[in-house]
Amino acid sequence: MKKVAGWFKKQNKYFLVGLAMTGLAVVLGILSFFWTPYGPTTMSAAERFNAPSFRHVFGTDNFGRDIFSRVMQGIGTTVIVSSLIVVISAGAGILIGAITGYFGGILDEAIMRVTDAVNAFPSILLALVVISILGSGKQNVIFSLGIVFTPSYVRIVRSEFIRLRDADFVCRARLMGVKKLRILFVHILPNIFSVFWVSVTIGFNNAILAESGMSYLGIGVQPPDASLGKMLSDAQGYLGRAPWYALAPGLTIVWIVLGFSLLSEGIRRKEASKK
């Protein structure tokens, strides 16, 4: 207990606030798989367009469904989808970035050309192209965004490996006769984590924004999977009558994204203050 309190004391404000915000969202999202206050699809003609109240925290929509329950489910989808996107893109990014960065050469040149080209595009556009080839749906969103975000990780990991490739301590490891794979993953890799965690949290943001944007456009996550972006686009038609319908999913996205931004800012500051 004392250890936990001590750990909290060491963190900066950005990190703690960010952690609390994202933590709350993740808990709600995961909880939605087991329990929601109301059935997210239970309609009720009598309760259409109820403003937020104690009964319905975020109000109800055009079918009388409880918006809070639906937002919870939307968070659940977003959390799962964006986590998988980050795992795919960051994992691939580390592997490709480490190898190309350390060894360089023609393979590195070729991969850099591709990542440069991909990085030049607005990410959502590229995902649209991939989706238009694969078709929409949750798996395809994960897959396409996973591919689309890989180059950004490749770039960061690669540049860190290039920086450290000629660092004195790596040079000495080579002189000691340490094997290449061990240099890559035991000597160098732990040194890039501080930079890497910052990009992972930013990556979460990009994934969430892209996923909800695509769902808003109707080519992302498809019903029956709940999605914050889709809810927002549904709500837009009732903006005059029930503004809370649009505000609830919108502010939820802002909440999560802001949480991750603060988290990444917190990590960045912590690392900066270490140096």
């Binding site: 050309r113 649209l128 503004p243 802002v254």
Partner: protein
């Protein structure tokens, strides 16, 4: 000069690569264009005829060469979906030509907003010693950056359209009919595009200025007896703007390439909306050209930024 030639060669190579990918990607995908145009009820003979008409019976390489040749000659092909009149399909060039001004106007308005607001704001923020203002700006920009553009569009619609009634949501006026009316309407989507970018740019400029302020040459300037004002505008800003130029270039590319989502929110008939509808109706000739167009814009803007950077930063140009 050598650098310029090299850059242009890379530029052309990238365009070629993208064109191959854009063309081939749509050849390997499941789902036949012919069935999707004619419906499942069509007879095999009619399908065969259409296939021949669209040139789909030839191998992909032949089709690519023919397509690329046409594109180079300025013939962008015809849409599968939009018809010009009863017996002719809409040429893609005309289709895009009609939508392009909308996107360009939106991009221009957004860029003006960003440049006019973000740069003074960033400079003011960096120079301000007021702690409360700093905290406020920090929180404000963090939040602004967290708002997705479509939600921002919804908020702008709600605030300016429904509550304040400054514009009629969904009441887009074509630039052909009433240019200034169109600009008036476009201000609001432009605000939605600009706000997060303003926050990003102001933050970036401020951080860049604070970083430069810690440099040795700033101390040198003070040791000459220069005032704080002079140091900020004459020494720091000049150096701090260097990375900001690249940053702004990236934003230009992003905006010009189509603020896809924002066009959807405000039902603007721009490139972005065209792309989305073409993707969902599998209108591949349009999608292919749009991808090429966007690549072209992005690459050219990056190229220009790179050239500009070389002009303003003596450390690179004089190497």
């Amino acid at each position: 000069m050598k650098y310029l030639v090299k850059k242009i060669v890379t530029l052309i190579m990238t365009l070629f690569l993208v064109s191959v990918l854009a063309f081939l990607a749509f050849q390997i995908i499941p789902g036949d264009v012919v069935t999707s145009i004619l419906g499942t009820e069509a007879t095999p003979e009619r399908e065969e005829a259409l296939r021949k008409e669209l040139g789909l019976d030839k191998p992909p390489v032949v089709r690519y060469v023919r397509w690329a040749g046409n594109v180079l000659r300025g013939d962008f092909g015809e849409s599968y979906r939009y018809s010009k009149n009863m017996n002719q399909m809409m040429p893609v060039a005309e289709l895009i030509g009609d939508k392009l001004p909308v996107t360009l106007l939106l991009a221009a308005l957004s860029m003006i907003l960003i440049a006019v607001i973000a740069i003074p704001l960033g400079v003011f923020w960096a120079r301000s010693k007021n702690k409360a203002f700093d905290v406020l700006m920090n929180m404000g920009t963090q939040t602004a950056m967290a708002v997705p553009s479509f939600f921002l569009g919804v908020l702008v619609t709600y605030l300016f359209g429904i509550v304040l009634k400054w514009f009629a949501p969904g009441g887009y006026v074509s630039y052909r009919d009433n240019f200034w009316g169109c600009v008036r309407y476009m201000i609001f989507p432009a605000i939605s595009v600009a706000i997060p970018k303003i926050a990003m740019t102001a933050r970036f400029l401020r951080n860049s200025m604070l970083m430069e302020s810690g440099s040795d040459y700033v101390r040198t300037a003070y040791s000459k007896g220069a005032s704080e004002r002079r140091v900020a505008y004459f020494h720091v800003l000049r150096n701090a703007m260097m990375p900001v130029v690249t940053f702004l270039g990236m934003i230009v590319a992003e905006i010009v390439a189509g603020s896809i989502v924002v066009e959807q929110v405000f039902s603007l008939p721009g490139i972005g909306k065209l792309l989305i509808s073409s993707i969902s109706t599998r209108d591949f000739p349009v999608v292919e050209i749009l991808i090429l167009y966007i690549t072209f814009v992005v690459i050219v803007v990056y190229f220009l930024v790179d050239v500009l950077y070389r002009i303003i930063d003596p450390r690179i140009s004089n190497k």
